[in-house]
Amino acid sequence: MLSCLVYLRNSSPLPLIWYVVLHSSLMGVDGHVSQGPWFASVLTLKTSAPLRAEPKKKKKVDPRREQMVRERLKKKLKKLERVPPELIPIEDFTTPAKYMDETRVRGAPQLPFEESERRALLLKEWSRYKQTQHRAEMEAVGLAVEAQREALEELRLESEELYQAALRPDPLLFPFNHQGPSYTPPKAQYEAPEGKYNNITKVYTQ
């Protein structure tokens, strides 16, 4: 009973009978009296604004509004960023304007009949020459492939273990570098002169 009275310290004193009713019928497990909507509204009347005299704090609505504004801004930013990246222009495909100049055109020579005939015949002979060369190359490669196949066959007949070892790829072979043939052989102890160059290639970033 005493605990009840302490809890309702702000209230005006109600008849004792009512207090007793509260205490006996609605004392729950832990003695908490504010159960049910009717009792809650009664209590808030006692502890409402005229007693406290403070302005209402919009605690939940304001942060929500600010958050909404921020989300809208973020969505707008994302839409702007979704623009596909600009394609890097291929400079080889655009003829620079200075090569469209007419003054650069070389005078087209009028070829005599013999010259054009000679050219046509030379081109045909060249195609025949290249064809025989290609055939010879293909035959040579075919022979080499056949030789390798026979070698592997013989090896298989000898020993399976050696055969499997032969089939394994060599990881150390690649990357394979070799300096190809040049027009003149390399000079012994030749020091190439040092050169400077300005690199003016345009670098594009996406």
């Binding site: 070698a151 000898e158 499997q164 040049s182 052989p185």
Partner: protein
């Protein structure tokens, strides 16, 4: 006999699977899987029959090639065609900046030498500067080029010895050594006998490294042999366990090396092999030595 039958079973499979050397590294993996699953039965039967050591002695040999250092001389037709191509390109092209400058300079010269030359007008246009003509620049560039002396292309006109690596810079050369096989000393590709516990490629490397007084650095092209030469020993040498020998060849490119001139080495072109190798040996070796 069981052995030939199992060989016959394998042959159709072999015909389907071609081992192209350039993509051999990729294909070997694929082939390994397909063959191991399909031919396991055949291999098992064969291994049973050949449980005893095979009657062939194994050798690993190396076909060491020095690749060409300079480009080859052109044929007459190649010469003509190159000239024609150059001519056609020139006709179909536009004038370059340098050529335009040359034309302008020559025009200016003609205008200067004309009678009604107005030097004030000319110099007003060009700001009165001493310009270097394009022709002068060309001459100065030619002078600079003459200062540089490239090495001669045909150095072995004097006749470098056959054992030198420097001969015939335009062709690819193969190394030949003189070794005693049986009772004879013959020219052949460097080889060594196979020992248990090593792969045939290691045998070939050992054969190359064991050459006396020679230090060749070679890059072997993969683990697969490129050719095989099988021969039977003469009747008197044949025994129960060795009927003959199989020589497996491996390809290698020379990266660096030197040899003393005393030892009998030969660097020969493909066309010159005939003079040194025995005909049956040459027949097998000629197939995988490409002159490309």
């Amino acid at each position: 006999m069981a052995a030939p039958c199992s060989r016959m079973a394998n042959r159709p499979l072999w015909q389907f699977i071609t081992n192209v050397r350039r993509t051999g590294l990729k294909h070997t993996g694929v082939r390994q899987i397909s063959l191991s699953s399909a031919c396991r039965a055949a291999t098992q039967t064969r291994s049973k029959t050949e449980g005893v050591a095979s009657p062939w002695k194994l050798y690993g040999a190396v076909c060491l090639q020095r690749l060409p250092v300079i480009s080859q001389e052109r044929n007459p037709i190649e010469d003509q065609f190159a000239e024609l191509m150059h001519q056609m390109e020139l006709e179909r092209s536009l004038l370059s900046d340098h050529e335009q400058r040359l034309l302008e300079d020559s025009e200016r010269m003609t205008r200067k030498q004309a009678d009604n030359y107005d030097s004030d007008e000319e110099e007003a246009d060009y700001g009165g500067q001493e310009t270097i003509t394009a022709q002068d620049q060309e001459d100065s560039w030619e002078q600079k080029l003459k200062h540089f002396q490239p090495a001669l292309r045909d150095r072995d006109v004097g006749g470098t010895p056959l054992g030198s690596v420097e001969r015939c810079l335009g062709d690819s050369l193969v190394l030949l050594v003189q070794q005693t096989v049986g009772k004879e000393t013959i020219w052949l590709l460097p080889q060594a006998q196979w020992e248990a516990g090593e792969t045939l490629r290691q045998t070939a490397e050992r054969g190359l490294n064991s050459l006396p007084e020679a230090d060749f650095k070679a890059t072997f092209l993969g683990n697969t042999p490129c050719g095989v030469y099988r021969y039977k020993f003469p009747k008197e040498v044949q025994t129960e366990c060795c009927v003959g020998a199989k020589v497996f060849f491996f390809k290698a490119f020379l990266s660096a090396g030197s040899a003393s001139q005393k030892e009998p080495f030969l660097w020969v072109k493909k066309t010159e092999l005939q003079g040194y190798l025995k005909p049956p040996y040459l027949e097998k070796v000629d197939r995988f030595i490409l002159n490309l």
